[in-house]
């Protein structure tokens, strides 16, 4: 049951609109209820082949030898694709926005870093024949020590998961193994707080579990192009990622998607498209690569696990005066998007409250598990769990009603937030008030009268004196380059490239002799000091 509370903030709105605010039927509803909405897999192409990947059976191992002799001869096999067949077999998703280093191969070559990592792609006439060929592949592994705990991974001597980041942590600003947030003097405030509460929170991974699994169909199209039907949540991310990995101009591809059977963040990673297109390039036939459900659950990227430590200082009157947070994002074996989640998480601290002293360190850590990715509430969901459980405990500690405790500490218009921007357009207090009303949860009049638009700013608008870290870490930029990484460091500062010419010649092969086209990046950069 949904009720629109038009009475609140009415003075800030024009409610005399014609189409906005109406419960108009969805444009796609007729398609949905008649089953005619067209998803990526609803395209039947003549002579379609089927791609399945051979996945690592180890969480961490060196690959000594890959023997495909029997598999090559297996009935119905059209092509077995190895890492060496992938034109640029190293990528990181956010390289399109110049954030992070290429660290993940499309097909593992010398080492596997998580159980289920793709090593070979087998293109066959039928799924059954692909499965039969997979069973005939022999891979000789040399198992390596594994690490699965984020804090263990950061300890000296921990197994190195991903050589691009030898300390098992994403490197921020070329210097730090975490993103910092510093606002005021949290340690000093903790020392004088009436109560200090330190707690540990943990969220295990979460699977997106969309009813439609990840997948794509790629087919040679007219004039040397490839048409790609895809379940992607980010069409141009996928187009440009494929152009980079396959080293062809992006307009080689005609991507079609847009109607997707649920995503929740699990279809951002361009998981299937590069190999699917490569399969079509190498066989000249349409190729489908769709995840089975077990693949989706085990090897499709989850929402990563997070471990969070919070130490709060609170006064007897209920004011939270300091919040110190250390958080670890479990990125799995590769970066994908967790590097950004940590930054988003740092900006989210200390939650929707005005706390004068905030200190945060957020780490993106590599372990030997399935790489994590974005999911609904990315970077925030686990932190909100931790903060709000903590708020409940603090309210209990000082003997306050938890609703009133939140209103007391809520941020208001004009307050300075810990990431040093003024709070505007806030509405937390009103939400608490209305929820209390709906739940028939009594709160006192003074809290009913509170407003996001009153009593903020002033002294709450100041940026407090913030001591510099006394033990600022001086990590040398950990730039160990791998054998795959062909991007010179200077490229990070390259201006955006011109778009490719409108009508390129059809690519003669997936590996053109001409200079790299695929490295074109989106036109801007994630902020670093150097800019």
């Amino acid at each position: 049951m949904l009720e629109l509370r038009k009475d609140i903030f009415a003075d800030e709105r024009d409610d005399n609109l014609k189409e906005i605010g109406k419960g108009t039927q969805r444009q796609d509803m007729l398609g949905h209820v008649t089953g005619t909405s067209s998803y990526f897999n609803d395209h039947k192409l003549q002579g379609m082949l089927h791609l399945k990947v051979v996945r690592s059976t180890h969480s961490h191992a060196r690959i000594r030898r890959i023997d495909t002799a029997d598999a090559d001869r297996s009935a119905g096999v059209r092509r077995i694709i190895r890492g060496s067949d992938v034109p640029r077999n190293l990528n990181t998703l956010l390289s399109l926005i110049n954030f992070g280093k290429d660290d993940e191969p499309s097909l593992a070559v010398d080492k596997v870093r998580y159980k289920g990592e793709p090593i070979l792609a087998i293109v066959a006439d039928s799924e059954r024949e692909a499965f039969e060929a997979i069973a005939k592949v022999r891979i000789d592994y040399e198992p390596l020590p594994t690490v699965f705990d984020v804090e263990d991974a950061l300890k000296p001597g921990a197994p190195v998961v991903n050589e691009t980041y030898p300390k098992n942590a994403f490197i921020y600003h070329d210097v730090y193994d975490h993103q910092k947030l510093r606002f005021g003097d949290a340690d000093a405030a903790l020392a004088t707080a009436d109560h200090v509460l330190e707690q540990r929170y943990q969220m295990s991974p979460i699977e997106h579990a969309p009813t439609e699994t990840n997948g794509s169909i790629a087919a040679p199209d007219t004039n040397g192009r490839y048409v790609v039907y895809t379940s992607t949540q980010a069409l141009f991310f996928s187009v440009d990622t494929c152009a980079k990995i396959l080293d062809v101009p992006s307009n080689t591809f005609h991507f079609i998607g847009g109607t997707v059977g649920g995503g929740f963040g699990g279809k951002v990673d361009t998981l299937t498209e590069p190999l699917c297109i490569l399969g079509a390039m190498l066989t000249g036939r349409p190729v489908r690569y769709v995840f089975g459900r077990e693949e989706e659950m085990q090897y499709g990227p989850p929402r990563g696990a997070e471990r969070i430590y919070i130490k709060d200082g609170v006064m007897r009157d209920g004011r939270v005066v300091a919040r110190k947070i250390r958080a670890y994002f479990d990125s799995g074996a590769y970066t994908r998007l967790s590097s950004y989640a940590a930054v988003k998480c740092a900006a989210h601290l200390p939650g929707p409250y005005t706390i004068p002293n905030v200190y945060g360190d957020v780490y993106c850590v590599f372990t030997n598990r399935t790489p994590a990715t974005a999911m609904r509430g990315f970077g925030v969901t686990a932190m909100d769990f931790a903060i709000e459980c903590q708020m409940d405990k603090l309210a209990n500690l000082v003997g306050m009603d938890p609703m009133e405790f939140r209103i007391l500490n809520a941020y208001r218009d004009g307050d300075m937030k810990a990431h040093r921007r003024e709070a505007k357009n806030t509405a937390l207090i009103e939400c608490v008030q209305v929820a209390a009303e709906k739940a028939k949860w009594p709160i006192r009049d003074e809290f009913k009268r509170a407003s996001s638009r009153k009593d903020g700013g002033g002294s709450r608008a100041a940026i407090p004196r913030t001591p510099a870290d006394t033990h600022a870490r001086t990590i040398a930029p950990a730039q160990q380059r791998t054998t795959y990484d062909r991007l010179p460091a200077a490229a990070l500062h390259e201006p955006p490239r011109e778009p490719p010419p409108p009508a390129p010649p059809p690519p003669p092969s997936p590996r053109p002799a001409s200079p790299s086209h695929g490295a074109g990046r989106f036109s801007s950069v994630f902020g670093t000091r150097r800019r």
């Binding site: 049951m1 709105r13 014609k18 659950m297 769990f385 929820a435």
Partner: protein, 340 residues
Amino acid sequence: MTRHRGRGIASINYPIGMNLGGDPSQALVHSNPSGKFTVALSSIDLGQGMKSVTRQICAETLGVPVEDVYVDTADSDTGPHCMGSFASRGTHRVGNAVMAAAREARGVMMEAAAEELEVNAADLETDGRGNIHVKGAPHRSISTKEVAIAAQFKQGKTISGRGIFLVPLSNVDPETGEMSPATCYAHACLVAEVEVDDETGEVTMIRMDSAYELGRALNPRLVEQQLVGGAWMGVSHALYETPEPYYPDPIHGPRDFVEYVMPGPGDICPHDIAVLERPAPDGPFGAKGPGEMCANPVLPAVANAIFNAVGVRIDDLPITPEKVLRAIKAEGGARPQARR
């Protein structure tokens, strides 16, 4: 055997969009000669309603009925660039781009109408039903269809528009974390009521009451879809879901929908929702985005309700019956807190 009830709350905010690469999205809007409009996007509808909400934004901006607009998503040959559907950016970023494109198209449409009606374009307004007329003189009117025909076949004008929304780049300070992470924030507060079985640790959802502030409910039915479905996912995250039930030990991972547990149709509880609208200054018609944040308050609210019911704190997600039972046993039994 004892079952105990408890209530818990949580309040949250959520950033709209992301601070990466300016988070841009583009839209193209054009009319055919019958005055019917197409919005071309490369943005994805994965169920959240991208096609529907941008359609309403376009119709409102153009001043035409929603039936006269059709949104085409996700063809890389025809749809201009969009970062993608994530980070609660769809309604806000893409909506803004569509609004800009529709505004430009409307400008041409009004100029073409002005030429036909031999008035100044500034003196014209749309009636939202497919007509353009002189302000204060509804009889001096022309239909959008007639305008489109005139523009195409007589005036040589394209009734079309381009739109982009781009956020100024914000550097992140390595030492302090100073940055502009988002342009606006949605808010929520949720009260969860649960029942806890102190012999089995099983938690049953009894009801939820919530207030969500999301700028403007551009389409209340779509908002309801997100909030109801999102709260269900929040319950699911709180009590059920994990592909690694023994994290950090990566064993016994589920392989199917029997082993990956999510609440079924018999596990849902009544949920009363209030929607507040404090328009975001930079949102399309003030809208923010309800899609992601709707799940977030449920997790801590449920955890806090469990504490209220049986006096144990479970700080590890998901809060399985096993964790609850272990905690109750560690405490020597359930310790119900003050009813609220």
